[in-house]
Symmetry: C2
Subunit: 354 residues, 2 copies
Amino acid sequence: MNDSVSRTGNVTLEEIARAAGVSPSTVSRILNGTARVSDAKQQAVEKAIAEFQYQPNVLARSLASGRTHTIGVLTQAIASPFYGEWLRGIEDTLREPGLTPLFVSSHWSPEEEAARLEQLLARRVDGVIVLHGQISEDLLVRYSARAPLVVLGRSLAPRASLACLPIDNEAGARDATEHLLGLGHRHIAFVAGPPDHGDSIERLVGYRSALADAGVAFDESLVVQADFTEAGGFRAMERLLDAAPHLTAVFCSNDQMAYGARLVLYRRGIRVPEDVSLVGFDDLPTSVYMTPPLTTVRQPTYEIGCLAARAVVQLIRGETVTMDPIPLTLEVRETTQSCAARPALDRASNTVAG
Amino acid sequence: MNDSVSRTGNVTLEEIARAAGVSPSTVSRILNGTARVSDAKQQAVEKAIAEFQYQPNVLARSLASGRTHTIGVLTQAIASPFYGEWLRGIEDTLREPGLTPLFVSSHWSPEEEAARLEQLLARRVDGVIVLHGQISEDLLVRYSARAPLVVLGRSLAPRASLACLPIDNEAGARDATEHLLGLGHRHIAFVAGPPDHGDSIERLVGYRSALADAGVAFDESLVVQADFTEAGGFRAMERLLDAAPHLTAVFCSNDQMAYGARLVLYRRGIRVPEDVSLVGFDDLPTSVYMTPPLTTVRQPTYEIGCLAARAVVQLIRGETVTMDPIPLTLEVRETTQSCAARPALDRASNTVAG
DNA sequence: TTGTAGGCGTTATCAC
DNA sequence: GTGATAACGCCTACAA
């Protein structure tokens, strides 16, 4: 019933100009600080703006200026706990230069990744940050021709409007594995992520290389594939315990899977870390509150988010950006302990009644 | 160096029209299905679009049509684990009607809430969803005149372009408290959220009313204020244990604080649930993976998100929307158990060496 | 310093 | 069916 009537807020720059007795351009200048304006007119305009509660139309502004002051951020699923700190870093850093992040999810589908990128470009975002993507490097380069682009976890050669932030997953995984080896573990299980996922692959490589360096034979039965989710970690741990009862430690290639694994161990009465040591990867904010606090490979996600945001800003300014690989650090907490003699299942039957 | 050159993707509707030998209006019609067009021209235009990889400029389109197909979503902090499922529900539901969510954070500041809302309106969003806000009802009503507005956790009278989704925090808190009372607990501590936070207040009320109904005297020393964060829950639990060692159960008014509390209990060697029962509120996705799995009041956040999204769509269509209060359900898991005789500290000193 | 005029890329209202 | 023509609300030379 109250359509054009109540949908106010449609005061335009022109009306302000009229009310203040100046030309539209003068109002625009005051709004953008584009040029000096006489005090008298300045005052008149500001008064009118306040009076009419004028809000410039962002759309019109962007259309005319060609800049939207918006940065597209592509994630697999913005609601995942995994992305929290990243987004926070991006959001915080983008605020100061007056940019608004536009978060979109591609839901683990390469096709949707491309579709979302197209959508972002159709919105004429000033730049794009791609947080993990399976999208081909070729396509990335192509997209970077349409808007400055920052990608995480790749190591493409830097270009005029493309920047990469490689993350050393392999070294992180190696550190974690070496930590367990150093504690005397020899039967270290590995819960892998999706087989076609870059991070997942690199972490597996790190695990294997640490084993190899330590002269520990790779045991196929100790590696099980999962999908980076808690439920996946749960199932993986069950399979593992059934197939490889001799394991004394488990390295999950992300924290969410470690949560799932932890639950299986609890259910079976297997103590952590007394009976089995557990290591995660990512250091999600809640991992330090696990019982006991989870030993894990820390990714400085908040800081990475900040870096990525700063990088797009630089690209937009036309600068070329080169970023050093991000080092990951092992956070030794309380789920790891030196290896006990007996394998997991023996211990379990000692510990629990049913 | 490569400015206007490489920033392609700037094919316009007009160029397509020229290439296809038709007028811009015809192209527009085909794009929007606004009217029937002869097959010949249809084909020609589609060919040109494919050839030029034409992408309509969303900005221009919105400016001309007055609709942005964008819904603003205001949260306190989009990166919080608390919002994950909400956002997912909203995102999923908005996709089908072709709407894009625009997520913004107000960082617990009422002023920023207003600022962000203004910003969303300046972007001419087609509607707004406010997930928790301390913003005054007055202001909400005012904003709803500028765009259809859906608010969670309020119970304002429904209007032409305002819908509320009340959430029965009080009943949820009462259920949880009654659960503990039913298990024989009489010294039930309560970890509250921010004192000026609506949800927080309602949950405290529920706790108190359950105690009163059961004839259990309210013990001031058992209630401690915190801030809905893990760290806050940690500190609160420490204070609690020092000040009220006779407690046998703790009800944290959100899961994040329960995580913090859990860690303190672990540190002090107090077993959960054998020595102390623990209850949370929200049922975050990871709560079921706690050790042991957390008993908590479940908010069907994903579903609420869907409801809210559906509500804005209805409002936009001009319908009036009334939503029933969301019922919360107690998820009894493994952190609660019938009350033991001895108070916490006694038990702790029995259990732990240091 | 200030105003005028044209343009940004679409949609929408007309006639034809 | 199709095509001019005028918005949409702002920016930006250009001119004064």
